[in-house]
Amino acid sequence: MAVTAGLRLLEALATPHGLDRYLELVHPMLTVRELRGQVTSVHRTTSDTVTLTIRPTRRWRGFRSGQFVRLSVVIDGIRRTRCYSPSTSEHRPGSFDLTIKAHDGGLVSRWLHANARTGLVVHLSQAEGEFTLDTARPRRVLLVSGGSGITPVLSMLRTLTDEGHDGEIVFLHYAYRRSDVPHLADLRALADRRPNVRLVLGYTDAADGDLQGFCTEEHLRAAAPWFTEAPAYLCGPPGLMAAVRAVYDGLGIGGLLRTEEFAPAPVAVDTAEATGTVTFARSGRRAPNSGRTLLEQAEAAGLTPEHGCRMGICFSCTSVKTAGRVRDVRSGETSTDPDEEIQLCVRVPVGDVTLDL
């Protein structure tokens, strides 16, 4: 009670900027409202992945295994945000690990791989996402992952073993080859320690795995003969997702499959012709892309977004683009970042675009 009253007085004294704007200048982790995290250790687990241990500030409400957090870092002056799933057990107190794979075109993942060091402070969101273990834990569980999609299902595995789960757990993971499997030593140790945990590795580019090539029904049967009777949790690249989905749908057991789309959808080709659909998410309207500015298209769709100069100087029409590619009509530059603030009056969609309008 006294703490709340004291906090309110301090906020009234700090107005209009808020207490955190002063506290963060003393130390970036000293915030009362904003959620941040400090990197407490850095391990480069394979040649292109890095595992960060992150200790969040007091406002962190924890996560359920399978969920993700939005992590932001500043790269060349610009705050960049990406989603990553913790790979540790949801029961580990005080910190969680993120395993991040450096993709070729991945600005943030490459930056973290090259620059993350102990002491780095990042911005965090609370955990989000519906891809989680059923609250009533199933007896038998199949966990399927591919590439960097390993992190949420690894968290599920570790959470279940922390809970002393004694039902059968099969951890089926696909990679190009053995050297690409993150946390391989940990996984092997865990499977050795726990008789109910079976580790099955499928390699697409090497012959020394438990399974070879891309996922098929035979793979699933070999890994978990009971897979048609137990829930499966799946996360990986689009090809793996589609293959597993096809097997489950073909057997009429699609209801057993829980999935998380991990990789972004392929980017539409940049053409002079207008293609795709503009979706106004908040008002639930959609219209085919007419090639005109997003402000004009919103108005044509019957919306009345706030606006002013209609020439890109007053920022009255700034809105959040949640997904898709847009082009700046002045510079011709395109951008694809999710949750990006754009000026509607000087942006045209390139393919499908979703706006928070």
């Binding site: 009234a12 209009p16 900027h17 002063y22 610009i78 960049r80 002013g308 100087i313 920022f315 009255s316």
Partner: protein, 368 residues
């Protein structure tokens, strides 16, 4: 007197300035971020130091230093940080704390109201008589094209009051009193603006005139006076800088007819001719929020202000290339020119015609 350009020249002017803009935008990065974060750090440190020193307000030097630090804090907050952040100059950083949609400044005028009348109305319709409400702020006669009436005899008095109570003037400006008076706008239409003014005003007044004085216990009055003085200092400074931006002699105004079908080049032309710079030291530029580079600011209102002094030589060269004036001078010269205008325009035109040649409208001179 500025020449009219040919359509080709307007187009070329637009291309030159667009190219300059593009070059600066492409170069934005860590240095710009570091700069504004440094200014924020200095402002917050001055604020904390100023508030702290006022707790020692029984010592006159501490009181004076406290008021000085707090005044500087408010000036930096409103000008180099607030005004510029709310223009969207730092939106590219994607930092919510320095984003135009979320920032609030340390003054009673709510950000949302101000952004509409400033970023949209003033910056889009700069110096168009009848559209730019910043010409005289609906209170003063500052352009000969505003028709004289006896109310304007009080011009110098209104200007002095506006200077002293500038933050309140900026706040009330968004009510568009002149439109309420003419019946163009109904009182009920200002409900949203008034609600925001009330919420923001209460918080600001509570902080400066109740909470901090009360916390200083027996020093209630010295702290109250200190905070009032700091607000006054900021008011006078902001008024002086802002009035030097568009009102010195030589700055041109425009009519709705001549700007009805503007191209981008013509829009740039109007921004250049409708603004004036102030010369000074780097520290002076920072304390003015770089509005001492009003010409550069009006050409590129969304480019981080620290870039204005860097591109000023190039803008000046572009002006010279097209034979356009580049209105600049020291603070004393520009302020003197503004004050002269305020006094001169208080009187009907026929009284001052013999006295000065500048009472003809800028438009008439341009047409001549």
């Amino acid at each position: 007197m500025a020449p009219q350009l040919t359509p080709d020249q307007y187009a070329a002017l637009g291309r030159d300035l667009d190219a300059l803009r593009q070059r600066v935008l492409a170069d934005l990065g860590e240095a710009d971020r570091a700069y504004i974060l440094d200014i924020v750090k200095i402002q917050r440190a001055l604020e904390v130091a100023g508030r702290g020193l006022l707790f020692l307000g029984f010592l006159p030097p501490a009181w004076l230093a406290g008021v000085g630090a707090l005044s500087l804090s408010k000036i930096l907050d409103n000008m180099e940080i607030g005004h510029n952040v709310m223009h969207g100059q730092y939106d590219w950083m994607r930092d919510p704390a320095l984003n135009s949609r979320m920032f609030e400044w340390d003054t009673v005028a709510p950000a949302e109201n101000w952004k509409h009348s400033h970023n949209y109305v003033h910056h889009t319709y700069t110096n168009i008589i009848g559209k730019d409400r910043d010409i005289g702020y609906g209170v003063l006669r500052i352009d000969p094209a505003q028709k004289w009436n006896p109310y304007y005899l009080g011009n110098p008095v209104y200007a002095a009051l506006l200077a002293v109570f500038f933050q309140w003037g900026v706040m009330l400006h968004d009510l568009e009193a002149e439109k309420l008076a003419s019946g163009e706008k109904k009182w009920s239409e200002t409900a949203a603006e008034r609600r925001r003014m009330w919420h923001k005003g209460v918080k600001q007044v509570l902080k400066d005139y109740a909470l901090f004085p009360a916390l200083s216990g027996p020093l209630f009055l010295p702290t109250l006076l200190g905070n009032m003085t700091a607000n006054l200092a900021r008011n006078l400074w902001a008024f002086a800088i802002i009035f030097c931006g568009h009102f010195p002699t030589g700055v041109e105004s425009f009519t709705e007819e001549e700007t009805a079908d503007e191209t981008r080049g013509q829009w740039y032309y109007r921004q250049m001719l409708g603004s004036a710079n102030i010369t000074g030291s780097p520290l002076f530029h920072i304390l003015s929020g770089n509005l001492s580079h009003q010409i550069e600011h009006h050409l590129f209102p969304d480019i981080p202000a620290r870039r204005y002094p860097m591109i000023a030589p190039e803008v000046r060269a572009i002006c010279a290339k097209y034979g356009l004036p580049y209105n600049t001078g020291g603070l004393a010269k520009q302020l003197g020119s503004v004050f002269g205008k305020i006094v001169r325009l208080a009187l009907p035109d026929r009284l001052t015609r013999a006295w000065s040649g500048t009472v003809e409208t800028d438009r008439a001179r341009r047409a001549a």
